[in-house]
Amino acid sequence: MKRSIIDLWVGIFVAIGLASVTFLALKVANLTPQGDNNSYTLIAEFDNIGGLKVKAPVKSSGVVVGRVSNIELDTQRYVARATLTLNDQYHFSRDTSAEILTAGLLGEQYVGLVQGGEEENLKPGDRVQLTSSALVLEQLIGKFMTSFAEGNNKAAAADAAAAETAP
């Protein structure tokens, strides 16, 4: 085997390796530039974040505008503080509301931003004022059960009243 042929093949081999890693980084892992230049952060506090995870998308009208970059517990007030890193090209008004939504019944959770009506926009590092927590299925069922039971009680009371009034 000629040395030059070996060199050529090894060169091709290494190039394939580099191309593969590049493909994995860009196309598969979606190495979106999260650099400081093209993004800014907002803070959103929730009573309950449910299953929200770091790296979850932040969407507005279904369009991905950023990602959740950090989640921590505020130990003073005991609320969850999520840091949203948003793309520089999207800005939101001061009365924007943030809610935690679920894609489909069993899908991943993401943060939805709904644009408000104010003229002034949120500045980097600002806190989103209006938030609504994640829908936690157990709580939902709990509420439903309570109201169902209350409804029954009312119906029973009405029945009893009707029976009394009736001679």
Partner: protein, 262 residues
């Protein structure tokens, strides 16, 4: 006599344990010797390039074909399972994550051990059996520096490249089945993948795994070759040992690395 029969399995166990520990120690010393004598294989890089050709380039075909098929199977099976839960959209994420985190590094390393590791063992073992290593050392050329170290580095360089290629081919296979054959939405396929795959914890950690596998497999291969009994039977059993030991070490190491990384 009776007692002897009863004690025989215990004695056997003791013997194999001592052997295993002895071998582990020898292998560590061998690794140190390789590292100490690596100067030449890095300075005269042509030696290593030649071995990259034999260990890496010649494994391309098997890696490409296996990667493609593994990805296609993942696509089919993943689709069947996911569609039961109504989340067939997540197929891209499933294929990419299973390949990047586990199947790519592990399967590529197993293929590499049986394709290139066994070849290395056989080659070095035959060089020993035909006195070539001895001739080299009598010519005042250290066989560890001239024969073993270049092969070791070639293996360490080739393994992550092959694993990355395996991943790419696997994802392409999953794409063929999921998007082209089954007809999932192409955009969903890629965006699900991109939303769930993290560069550091999935892609880079997978490649770090394959780097460890490369070190382990190549070390086993060159050690078994160097340690082979210099006969035809000795070389053949050393080759078998390379494949078996490598497979076990890859899977055990995979568990340890996974526990540490993820």
């Amino acid at each position: 006599m009776m007692l002897d029969n009863l004690l025989a399995p215990l004695r056997h166990l003791g013997h194999s344990s001592i052997n295993a520990i002895w071998k582990l120690g020898m292998m560590s010393r061998f690794l140190l010797a390789i590292l100490a004598h690596s100067g030449q294989s890095l300075l005269r890089f042509q030696l290593t390039i030649r071995e990259v050709y034999f260990a890496g380039v010649l494994s391309l075909i098997i890696i490409v074909v296996s990667g493609l098929f593994v990805g296609m199977v993942l696509g089919l099976q993943g689709y069947n399972t996911l569609s039961r839960f109504g989340s067939a959209d997540a197929l891209g994420a499933l294929v990419a994550l299973s390949l990047l985190r586990e199947l790519g590094p592990v399967l590529a390393a197993l293929l590499f051990a049986s394709r290139s590791g066994s070849a290395m063992t056989a080659e070095i073992g035959l060089m020993k059996a035909t006195e070539q290593l001895e001739a080299m050392s009598v010519m005042a050329v250290d066989p560890v520096a001239r024969v073993v170290a270049p092969r070791f580095w070639a293996g360490v360089i080739s393994m992550p490249i092959l694993a990355a290629l395996f991943n790419v081919m696997g994802i392409f296979g999953g794409y063929l089945v999921g998007v082209v054959m089954i007809g999932l939405d192409e955009g969903t396929f890629w965006s699900q993948m991109q939303n769930n795959v993290d560069l550091h914890s999935d892609v880079i950690n997978g490649l770090i795994k394959s780097l460890f596998f490369g070190i382990a497999v190549t070390l086993i291969a060159v050690f078994e070759g160097f340690d082979a009994t210099p006969t035809a039977a000795g070389v053949s059993s050393a080759t078998t040992r390379t494949v078996v030991t490598s497979a076990l070490v890859i899977l055990a190491l995979d568990f340890v690395l996974t526990a540490f990384m993820f």
